[in-house]
């Protein structure tokens, strides 16, 4: 059942004709984050007053600011008609990816950010890719949507198909690569720092200097790769998702 693939423990089981492989760490972390976001949503939902004219409470103001941010910043480039129907999807994607990226700074043993797993990011990218077709067919009709692949001339069909594939792959790989790169930097820095200190200061001074410098290095690394890059990448993923869907619906 359980097998080791590299450093990960993978659960493998046959399901009909195919063998399914699951990574329990990723699965558990993403399910936990989903439940946390669900709880947050239910908690914020209770704050919506029955009377729309009532002054907003603090939590309602947070909710309004969040929806306003997604509507005007991330979906600012989409058409008015599409914006309303995309808002729930894009807000959910943004919050899920943001929470996944930020979970990498939590000091829980065995905790990895789910977006550090290619299966998660590529799955999200494929979800966005299938939605571009749904929105394209819904706004333009099946025939005109498929005809878009023959433009500007029918010979361009293979180019358009390869372009679609490369776009979707790079959409998933970008998030995965950024988060994995940050995680590798975090994992590599402390051993390298220890080695350098021992080599240049000697073992005596190194034991004194390492706690201070190691803490400072972890703080800087987590702040930059965890919080800053994680937020930017969540923003980038959702901005591109909105741009792709808007491009298909035009």
């Amino acid at each position: 059942m359980f097998e080791r693939v590299g450093k990960d423990l993978v659960l493998r089981f046959p399901l009909g004709p195919i063998t399914v492989a699951l990574n329990p760490a990723t699965l558990g972390a993403s399910l936990g984050i989903s439940l946390l976001l669900l709880a947050l949503a239910l908690w914020l939902r209770r704050e919506i007053p029955a009377d729309p004219e009532a002054p907003p409470s603090r939590r309602l103001a947070l909710l309004i600011a969040l929806v306003d941010f997604v509507e005007n910043q991330i979906l600012g480039g989409t058409s008015e008609k599409l914006r309303r129907s995309l808002l729930p999807l894009i807000a959910t994607l943004f919050l899920f990816i943001l929470a996944c990226n930020l979970s990498s700074i939590l000091p829980i043993p065995g905790m990895v950010a789910p977006t550090q797993d290619l299966n998660v990011t590529l799955g999200l990218a494929l979800l966005v890719y299938s939605l571009t077709h749904v929105y394209g067919m819904r706004t333009k009709g099946v025939f005109r949507h498929l005809k878009g692949y023959l433009e500007p001339i029918p010979v361009m069909l293979p180019m358009n198909l390869v372009g679609d594939m490369g776009r979707t792959l790079s959409h998933g790989f970008r998030l995965f690569g950024n988060i994995l790169g940050g995680a590798i930097m975090g994992a590599v820095t402390i051993p390298v720092l220890t080695d350098l200190l021992v080599r240049f200061l000697g073992p005596m001074l190194a034991t004194l200097a390492l706690p201070v410098l190691g803490t400072a290095a972890s703080l800087v690394l987590n702040a930059f790769f965890g919080v800053f890059a994680g937020t930017i990448q969540a923003l980038v993923f959702t901005l591109l998702a909105a741009a792709y869907i808007q491009g298909a619906a035009d």
Partner: protein, 79 residues
């Protein structure tokens, strides 16, 4: 070739791949950021739109850097 030499060449290849692969995106993102700030200074009321387009352009310029990171990881751990 001995296994140590192969391992050493593998580290060298991963380092070269990542180092050279980072040059292109760095230059590209620098140009994008510089031009975007230039435009923001000229037309501050356009900042929101410019910032959004800058982030999208940065993300696309970064793609080749991410590919070289993946290749470097594959050289180190997979091949």
């Amino acid at each position: 070739m001995g296994p140590e030499l192969v391992q050493g060449l593998r580290y060298l290849a991963a380092g070269l791949c990542m180092g050279l692969g980072a040059v292109g995106p760095a230059v590209g993102e620098g140009i994008i950021g510089g031009k975007a700030i230039e435009s923001m200074a000229r037309q501050p009321e356009m900042t929101n739109i410019l910032l959004r387009n800058m982030i999208i352009a940065d993300a696309i310029a970064e793609t080749t850097g991410i590919y070289s990171l993946l290749v470097a990881i594959m050289i180190l751990f997979v091949v």
